[in-house]
Subunit: 156 residues, 2 copies
DNA sequence: CAAATATAATTGATATATCAATTAAAACAG
DNA sequence: CTGTTTTAATTGATATATCAATTATATTTG
């Protein structure tokens, strides 16, 4: 009886651990990936952060996106976007001027250097992803997606 | 022929999108979870950040862990740990004094208030996790774990 | 149209992440 | 035992996250 209680408590503990750890795993995987990706980029002598690249890339894909939409596309805060754009302009990758139709907004355009760095980054992005996803099947990725989507929708 | 080429290119594009997006999904899920969890904690009037709690919890579980090990357990930098501990001491949740055996290290002990807040947090942590993982089977969690572990080991 | 409201972006304050340099103490090697 | 190396933690600098308050402009409403 006491032994069964012990087993029961153990199994509760184990189950707790399992679900506890899942958010740690998610956190660890994304942190590791970011460090890994950033390291490879820096090693290649490319002077941009992953976050700056992400914002630049978003603007490249559609330069009419308002900053608040850049924020939601990149899962960032509008305040962060303001500051990242500032740095991108400082670094000469981006030009920014007020829009005449709506003077609260800005016309964001990649400079030649901005386009260059996007091109230079491309192979590294792909290599990084390929290495991180090595030996992982499409099926697994689909499942990963599906479970993560469930978590995301449970929360919202 | 041209139509088939089109389909082929589409499928490449779709596959690219899929694997591209996986890191976005991971990032989005963990960011959403953190926001969600932090909001619930704050709403409950508990004045601590998730990161501070995580560090406090790690010390509670084993108060002989050196700061550098706290860092690796929480996937943080030692510099961040130094600063988080500073805040925890300031807030009165933690006491810190030099160790006599090794004066580079510190004796970290939860104060009564520190223990209190850990207790107060407990139900919220569980509710948050339960809600985030609602309708997700153990099987799915196991798979999630397994795929994330693969990613993590591919990177290291 | 004028006043009220809503929206886009910025700014300030505080927390955290990351890297590099530094400090203090411990461990080691000759 | 002394000089060298290693280790634990801190500090400084810069980037990003988050929240709240603010500014400027646009939109809506009476």
């Amino acid at each position: 009886m006491i032994y069964q209680l012990y087993l029961y408590q153990q199994s509760i503990k184990i189950m707790e651990k399992l679900s506890d750890i899942i958010f740690y795993s998610i956190e660890k995987s994304i942190k590791s990936y970011r460090q890994f990706a950033q390291k490879n980029i820096s090693k290649a002598g490319i002077e941009i952060t992953i976050d700056q690249w992400l914002v630049l890339k978003t603007i490249e894909e559609d330069n009419s996106t308002p900053q608040k939409d850049i924020a939601s596309k990149t899962f960032k805060d509008v305040a962060s976007i303001t500051r990242i754009i500032e740095l991108l302009v400082q670094k000469g990758y981006l030009s920014r001027k007020s829009k005449s139709e709506d003077r609260r907004r800005f016309e964001l355009t990649l400079t030649d250097e901005g386009n260059d760095i996007i091109k230079k980054m491309q192979p590294y992005i792909q290599i990084n992803r390929a290495q991180a996803l090595k030996n992982i099947t499409d099926e697994e990725i689909k499942n990963l997606h599906s479970t993560l989507s469930k978590i995301i929708s449970n929360i919202n």
